[in-house]
């Protein structure tokens, strides 16, 4: 069983903080891209059983419904798609119309992830987003009315910081079953990279982080930046955090199949000329996979159970990483449970310290 990721590398406008692979376009995602994508999917020869499909970007809501139909058609012909598939599509509020949502539903999309970020016009301008607060409200209303399972993306840290509590309150009023709220980072290589002095201090960051969990009543922080009502956790993303396999299609998409982490050509032209061609393919060692698996699981509230680890690697978690994990327990970053290990509140806030301790854990 695997997951399918489709990368749609187009946006109407480019947000200055964003470090995803994308480029601006005027109309819908071009045919050349759709064509290359279908060719790539048709040539795929890995695991054919899929339980999740995720259209990410970029801005997947820029795909014309007919093109989306074509892609899904090819996917259905290629893969055995589970009957209870989770089919997510990321969308920008400006693109949402009732008509479009109806098309999506008809094509089998059953989860929409909406890039709201904020309900404050000043914050949205600071972020250089193309929509405004009213546009976000309108889109949320439509999505909430059409989809049971949907996600609202939020961000904390952009200025004015004081707008965040109101955004959280407004978010709650739409009662999404899933929220992702990310601390804004001033990524090097983006226009924001040169503005890192504007970043909020650690204490404010942690205050807003805590406020997120408090305000989203009924949702649990099941991952560092993700909150869900029970049963609405994103199954596709859980595959990443369980370090499970996935097949990625589209420029810059990663795949993780048979222990090989590979990446498609990043540049669109290269991708179009050679869909499915790799710019990088790492054959990970068993140890590297073990380390990555433990690090990823420990981003999750549920943590990592010894049984799960043993099932996966036919080896004992306590003998592979026991010393390091126990040291992390004594540093207050993990707690040991009957099932295994999971992060504490500090373990979320200092999650990279867990990774740091694990990367060179001595092999026994």
């Amino acid at each position: 069983m695997t997951g399918i990721y489709i990368h749609v590398p187009f946006c109407r406008t480019i947000c200055p903080y964003c470090d995803f692979v994308k480029r601006p376009i005027k109309g819908a995602a071009p045919d050349a891209f759709i064509h290359a994508l279908t060719r790539e999917i048709e040539a795929y020869d890995g695991d054919l059983d899929a339980e999740t499909i995720f259209f990410g970007g970029g801005t997947p809501s820029l795909i014309a419904p007919e093109s989306l139909a074509t892609i899904l058609d090819v996917l259905h012909r290629k893969f055995r798609i589970a009957s209870d598939v989770e089919l997510t599509l990321e969308a920008n509020p400006d693109d949402i119309t009732q008509d479009l949502l109806d098309h999506w539903k008809a094509l089998g999309v059953n989860r929409v992830s909406l890039g709201v970020q904020s309900f404050d016009d000043e914050v949205l301008r600071y972020l250089g987003r193309r929509h405004d607060a009213d546009g976000a409200r309108r889109a949320c209303g439509l999505v909430a009315a059409s989809f049971l399972n949907w996600n609202m993306d939020l961000m904390f840290g952009p200025h004015p910081v004081s707008a965040y509590p109101a955004t959280l309150a407004e978010c709650a009023s739409f009662a999404p079953p899933h929220v992702s709220s990310y601390g804004l980072t001033y990524e090097a290589g983006t226009p924001f990279g040169k503005r890192s002095h504007e970043a909020i201090d650690e204490d404010s960051y942690l205050r807003l982080y805590a406020l997120t969990a408090e305000s989203l009543r009924g949702l649990d922080r099941y991952e560092v930046s993700n909150y869900a009502r029970s049963g609405f956790e994103c199954r596709h993303n859980l595959r990443y955090w369980h370090n499970d396999t996935y097949a990625g299609f589209g420029p810059a998409a990663y795949s993780f199949l048979d222990g090989i982490r590979a990446r498609n050509h990043v540049k669109l032209e290269k991708y179009l000329a050679d869909p499915g061609g790799k710019c990088e393919a790492l054959n990970l060692t068993r140890r590297e996979i073990q380390i990555e698996t433990v690090i990823q699981y420990l981003r999750l509230r549920e943590g990592l159970s010894t049984i799960e680890y043993e099932k996966r690697f036919d080896s004992s978690l306590r003998s592979d990483f026991g010393d390091v994990l126990r040291a992390l327990v004594s540093r207050g970053l993990l707690e040991e449970t009957v099932e295994g290990f999971r992060p504490t509140a500090a373990g979320f806030e200092l999650n990279n310290e867990i990774g740091l301790a694990l990367v060179d854990a001595p092999v026994r």
Partner: protein, 605 residues
């Protein structure tokens, strides 16, 4: 066939650092054809990696050249290229003892500098014929007349026949060799009297064992004969001997007057004493030659493996390095903070840097180095006396009658416009004014007595900065003197860290404590818990600084391929952490143990 002594010349090139000795030596190798043109590179004789990288000579190098002079006669010229840096001045002394003459190079733009003077005096003391060479005359700002006057007035040598040379362009190289033949006396020793050869250097070779560099003063030495070291009576058979061209080249014998090498199955450098006399075991000489003092370590520092497991590896590395270079000393030492390690002794700061670099590079070790210090002589109230080379070994203040520290006499040559700056600096460094002499209208020499400890820290850099590079320094030890000194301790989370202790003058202790604590605050990274840094003298806390705890370190997004990128990033960060030493619960970076050296930096800016 042996060359008659009348056709041998032994000479060395001496100068202040960077005045162009090794470059001029290249020209000699070229005109005599000693090195094939295609093998010639810049500073051919600087063969160690570190010499080539830093562009300085560290070890003296001997080379033999055949030269047909303008008079048509063939001569054997034994040349020794010497280092100019003050740390390696003992190398110069050794080389001088193997020669009858010296080329004294003076940079035509820089003029006479401190080591010009110091090295010239050494040569004069040993009765060498000195030939002044004004070098780098191709430089646009060269001032030959003024340099000529300086050589006469300051060094006291007749410079009317000084050779005008440019090692870079080759000018004057032949003239210099002709002057050597004309002016430097041939070696005088009698070839028939019992053998006396001076050991002026030794080197370890992985295949041949110890190679001894000798200057045969009297008699002759033949392959297969039995020789004896006069200092300890040990006897060896001569397995191989020969000359430097510049690679070692075997021959059958070496005669009085010649410079060459000996190999006699000696396994360690330690068993060879530089300055010793080699004689014939069957027909020993009555008296040894006049040798020279062993170089003495003046600066000490602690060296610890970053990972405790590497202790044995570090010991092996030190032993191996010492086979090649006996100029530093080491002994095992322990630190509460850093665990098992060593205390090393060096001839100076540059020497220390070089040895550390070689250890890290040639043996691939990650090391933690503590701040360098000098040796102190302690007299306790109970009358006992001893020397400490490590601040943490200092007894409690109440037990101490007196602490004495090494003093040096410094000669600083600089243009007069910088004199007041130099005097201020010397005062700040607890210098005692001896006198200032004017060398000519534009330059002077300031003589100060100063604690060595003050020179060790940052004196030289400061001098260079305030004199825009024109000031130069020469110093020699003059003995120990009492000082009002105290031990300054650093505490991390209230635990004293022995490796961060230092001995400082009482008047500066408080200032230093504050500076050090605030420097450490910038060097110690934030950790999961708050770190308190305190500076203290005895039980008196001078200052407290705090490194705030890290409260947030999290990657907000981690999907798809992000994890592998993240793992690699974490690995890289971890690599950086490996350079940290766990002291109690605190991770301390290597640089922190050197913080004292950097205290002055910001304060004086």
């Amino acid at each position: 066939m042996a060359t008659p002594a009348s056709h041998i010349r032994n000479f060395c090139i001496i100068a202040h650092v960077d005045h162009g000795k090794s470059t001029l030596a290249d020209r000699f190798l070229q005109v005599t054809g000693a090195v094939e043109e295609r093998k010639l590179k810049e500073q051919t004789l600087d063969t160690m990696d570190i010499e080539r990288e830093r562009g300085i000579t560290i070890k003296s190098v001997a080379v033999r050249m055949n030269y047909t002079a303008q008079n048509g006669e063939r001569y054997v010229l034994n040349l020794i290229d010497t280092p100019g840096h003050v740390d390696f001045s003992y190398e110069v002394s050794r080389s001088l003892a193997a020669c009858e003459g010296a080329l004294l190079l003076v940079d035509a733009a820089q003029g006479v500098e401190a080591q010009t003077l110091a090295n010239a005096y050494k040569a004069i003391e040993q009765n060498l014929e000195i030939i002044p060479v004004i070098n780098k005359i191709d430089l646009p700002n060269s001032d030959i007349d003024s340099v000529r006057r300086q050589i006469e007035d300051v060094v006291g040598l007749d410079a009317s026949e000084a050779i005008l040379a440019s090692g870079k362009e080759g000018t004057g190289a032949i003239e210099a060799l002709e002057a050597v033949i004309r002016k430097v006396p041939p070696p005088s020793g009698n070839r028939e009297t019992p053998l006396r050869a001076l050991i002026f250097d030794a080197k370890y070779d992985a295949y041949r064992g110890v190679i001894i560099y000798i200057r045969v003063k009297e008699g002759r030495i033949v392959r297969g004969s039995k020789v004896m070291m006069m200092s300890n009576g040990l006897k060896y058979e001569v397995a191989e001997l020969g000359t430097f061209r510049p690679e070692i080249t075997p021959s059958d014998s070496l005669e009085a007057g010649e410079v060459g090498y000996l190999i006699c199955n000696i396994k360690t450098l330690q068993s060879t004493k530089i300055g010793d006399t080699v004689t014939d075991a069957n027909r020993p000489a009555a008296e040894a030659l006049h040798g020279y003092k062993e170089p003495q370590s003046v600066v000490f520092c602690g060296l610890y493996p970053a990972v405790a497991n590497d202790f044995q590896e570090l010991r092996d590395a030190l032993e191996r390095l010492q086979l090649n270079d006996a100029s530093f000393t080491f002994q095992a030492d322990t630190s509460d903070a850093l665990g098992f390690g060593f205390r090393l002794g060096f001839l100076g700061l540059l020497h220390m840097e070089i040895i550390q670099e070689r250890l890290e590079r040639e043996f691939n070790l990650t090391l933690v180095t503590t701040v360098p210090n000098v040796a102190y002589q302690i007299t306790k109230k109970d009358g006992s006396q001893f020397t400490i080379e490590n601040a943490s070994k200092m007894p409690p203040p109440g037990d101490i009658e007196v602490i004495e520290e090494p003093y040096i006499e410094a000669e600083i040559i600089c243009p007069t416009e910088y004199l007041s700056g130099v005097i201020d600096l010397c005062k700040k460094k607890r210098g005692i004014h001896v006198r200032v002499d004017y060398l000519d209208a534009k330059r002077c020499i300031a003589i100060y007595q100063m604690p060595l400890a003050e020179i060790v820290l940052d004196f030289y850099d400061k001098l260079k900065t305030l004199s825009r590079g024109y000031g130069s320094l020469e110093y020699h030890l003059i003995g120990f003197r009492p000082g009002d000194l105290v031990k300054l301790d650093i505490l991390l989370n209230t635990e004293p860290v022995d490796a961060l202790s230092s001995i400082v003058h009482r008047d500066r202790a408080e200032w230093m404590g504050r500076q050090l604590a605030s420097k450490l605050r910038t060097l110690i990274p934030r950790q999961q818990f708050e770190v308190a840094i305190q500076a203290a003298i005895g039980s008196r806390i001078l200052v407290r600084e705090t490194v705030k705890a890290v409260r947030k370190n999290v990657t907000a997004k981690c999907y798809g391929g992000d994890i592998t990128r993240k793992r690699k990033l974490l690995e890289k960060q971890k690599e950086g952490k490996r350079r940290m030493k766990q002291v109690g619960s605190v991770e301390v970076p290597q640089e922190a143990f050197m913080a004292l050296l950097r205290v002055g930096e910001d304060a004086d800016k």
